[in-house]
């Protein structure tokens, strides 16, 4: 099974591509550090999206060329960025007012685990070491929609979509949708609702890889992404 999964599953780039298809024109979006940042690369043509970074920029653009970095112009991942026309700067309290105050249309995060009630665990493996939280606990509150991009299972093959998170929580009941390497799953009142899946996997197989019931509610659409 593991080997077959590795063959059929979407790459991170493909998951990011799929998530990018749902970016609304005119949306204000915060992409979490790392994997979620990739979504901007696949922003569909003809849609204007304004990216927020919690360290104090609205309307930043792609990385500059190597050697052209300005280290006062960075994103939350401390990577150098550029400015798009119409950008603005503000301090951290104003920046998190945008987050907490419900002004962002979308926040996209990575996950260790997402529970069927929308709980998210993405900041601590609970294993000791140095804990670090950054803006994760803030970002799960306030954005009109909070979604996750993730592999469907852990490296060991354990479900990341679970009945209850076993790792330390980032937020309670905060996730609306999950884009995985195998499926697109919404979180609604009844729990996980399967919206899209790869053609190469059956609902039963998907259920076996998921730690809580996958509800069906109308059509299950085809999850498909170009080779990237």
């Amino acid at each position: 099974m593991k080997q077959r999964l590795d063959e059929i599953k979407l790459s991170n780039a493909q998951i990011a591509w799929r998530a990018a298809q749902d970016l609304r024109d005119g949306a204000y979006v915060n992409l979490g550090i790392g994997f979620p940042e990739m979504i901007a690369t696949f922003q569909p043509e003809g849609r204007e999206v304004i990216y927020h970074t919690e360290n104090g920029i609205l309307g930043f653009g792609p990385s500059p060329r190597e050697g052209e970095e300005d280290w006062d112009l960075i994103n939350a991942g401390k990577k150098a960025v550029t400015l798009n026309s119409g950008a603005s700067f503000f301090h951290h309290a104003d920046s998190f007012a945008m987050v907490r105050g419900g002004h962002l249309d979308l926040a996209v995060l990575g996950a260790y685990q997402v529970a069927q009630n929308g709980d998210l665990a993405n900041w601590s493996t609970g294993k000791g070491g140095v804990p670090a939280v950054g803006g994760a606990m803030d970002l799960v509150h306030g954005a009109k929609k909070v979604v996750v991009v993730t592999d469907h299972v852990t490296k060991n093959g354990d479900p990341k979509l679970v009945s209850e998170c076993t790792l330390p929580l980032t937020g309670v009941g905060c996730i609306n949708r999950i884009y995985t390497s195998l499926a697109v799953v919404d979180i609604e009142a009844q729990g996980f609702v399967l919206r899209e899946k790869l053609d190469a996997i059956s609902v039963d197989e998907l259920q076996a890889l998921t730690g809580a019931q996958l509800h069906l509610d109308g059509d299950i659409n085809l999850l498909d992404a170009p080779k990237l």
Binding site: L58, G86, F96, A97, M98, R100
Partner: protein, 239 residues
């Protein structure tokens, strides 16, 4: 993305009876007179209005009150050179008043915009205005709990604005405007000058466009103080 529109009546057309409307300004400075007059033309009733004051003379907020559009006012200082519009209706029991200390009013609005449901302040402790509010001690000093304020709409006035809704303000006309822009579901702005996106220095933007929904340019806007000195009345009385 283009949040600018040409018609000031379209800008306020969706404001319905019973809405809560924040209106920027401190006295006449920063008061969006043209937006208020457009709202008077549209005529929604039973509004809750949040403003620092209660209007002066017979224009702007005072005129809205004279048109019997306001059922409740949340403000800090309902007195002015000519406060009759409000005073008459308040004393007749026709308009409800929630009196809030000025700094608490500002902070409650900011909290509304920042996703902070409540905060503690020393302001008002031990006074009539704290009656019924939860109290708590921190480091041996007493404070009262104040709730955030939000609104369905904010009508604000800015100096420069662009199609993204980025705004600057003019001197002390800044006052409540940037705070109200954050705290309303829909923020409608009259700007003295509409400029192309990218023309306002990103360091100089006071209100980032994310807080703004609609921008309408009103060149050479009227100033409440000047209108009152000229004894203007809105709408003009036709005899």
């Amino acid at each position: 993305m283009n949040k600018s529109i040409d018609s000031i009546s379209d800008a306020v057309a969706k404001i319905e009876d019973g809405s809560t409307v924040m209106i920027g300004g401190f006295g006449g400075s920063g008061a969006p007179i043209e937006l208020i007059h457009a709202l008077i033309d549209a005529g929604p009733k039973n509004l809750t209005v949040i403003n620092n004051n209660a209007g002066n003379g017979h224009v702007g907020l005072a005129a809205m009150i004279e048109q019997e559009m306001v059922s409740k006012l949340i403000c800090s200082f309902p007195r002015s050179a000519d406060p009759r519009a409000f005073t008459d209706r308040y004393l007749a029991g026709k308009i409800e008043l929630e009196l809030v200390p000025q700094g608490t009013l500002a902070e409650r609005i900011r909290a509304g915009g920042a996703g902070i449901p409540a905060f503690y302040t020393p302001t008002g402790f031990g006074t009539e205005l704290a009656e019924g509010k939860p109290q708590k001690e921190f480091d041996g000093k007493p404070y009262i709990e104040e709730r955030c304020l939000k609104a369905d709409y904010a009508l604000i006035k800015a100096e420069q604005g662009d199609g993204f809704g980025n705004l600057t303000y003019r001197m002390a006309a800044r006052n409540f405007n940037p705070l109200m822009a954050m705290a309303a579901e829909t923020t409608i702005v009259q700007v003295n000058q509409l400029v192309p996106v990218g023309q306002i220095d990103p360091e100089r933007i006071v209100t980032p466009g994310i807080f703004v929904d609609c921008v309408v340019e009103i060149q050479n806007p009227q100033q409440e103080e000047d209108l009152n000195r000229a004894d203007v009345r809105y709408p003009e009385v036709t005899t």
